[in-house]
Subunit: 144 residues, 2 copies
DNA sequence: CAATATTGGTTTAAAAATGCAACTAAAATA
DNA sequence: TATTTTAGTTGCATTTTTAAACCAATATTG
């Protein structure tokens, strides 16, 4: 990745971690159940050296854990930490945006459903704490 | 940006558009009210050639509009289209994740509040259509 | 148990993208 | 009219990415 953003902004700081072509795709694979290096590499199509670097970075950032699974060997499993799992809404949000805006209606390749009911999940929206829908003009950033 | 993802996945396709170091930061500036080239460049810190390229791409993608504001001149204003505005939840989601996970509690540089009340907005969450909270294990991707 | 295949990488070189500074033309301002 | 500002473009050095080859340890097969 290119030089880090230095701004004291949560968006800029987040982009320092997953603001690139591959990282969010790796995270997606974790949500789809991948855990091994090979899986991650094949499912995303990323080059092995980049995957290696990205995983190192994600482990450093506390987003991914690396555990030994080969009886004192060189076999490892990668998985999301709690911090990594908390990216779930971000991933869902990106999924939903792409699905709504990047395909003709009815041409979507997939949809997110609740496992137990098979029903589509709700559209993610920005709301007030008492449940009113907020459009972008109703929200501002308050600097602390 | 690097070579396009070819996967038929809404996440991969979205990353082809904003999966880089700068694009989401440019979008952030639009939500903060920027409209001119100079503003976007100064607030984000992006190099001018890159900003130029990114804006061209965003206009092509139908996310940003370029309008002439200088009485038949070379003065322009950029603004989000409806497609661009629909990135608001994605941006909010990234903001909230960064704010919760990347700073010690109480050290957040900013928070998102409702303009009219000054109260913090709700945390964005993944829910079923009837309003139940869904964790990542309760959701799956159904391919169509 | 020996031979083969798989995993989880590292290394290298070429291609592409980024960062930075210098330059420019038109328009706005003084 | 002179100066400044805007909205870029151009060129070059640096950094990243891509793709392929290579490797050691482990697991699987016969």
């Amino acid at each position: 990745m290119s030089r880090d953003h230095t701004q004291a902004c949560p968006v800029a700081r987040s982009l320092n971690i997953f603001g690139d072509h591959w990282t969010m795709l790796i995270i997606r694979e974790f949500f789809y159940g991948a855990s091994r290096f090979k899986q991650l590499q094949q499912e995303t199509g990323i080059a092995k050296n980049l995957l290696s670097e990205r995983l190192k970075m994600l482990v450093e950032q506390g987003i991914v854990e690396k555990t030994d699974v080969g009886e004192r060997g060189t076999r490892f499993a990668y998985s999301l930490t709690a911090k990594g799992e908390s990216l779930f809404p971000v991933l869902v949000c990106i999924f939903q945006w792409g699905n709504r805006e990047l395909y003709g209606s009815g041409n979507q390749p997939a949809e997110l459903v609740e496992k137990s009911t098979n029903l589509p999940i709700a559209k993610i929206q920005v709301m007030s704490r008492d449940g009113r829908l907020l459009d972008r003009n109703a929200v501002k950033t308050r600097f602390l």
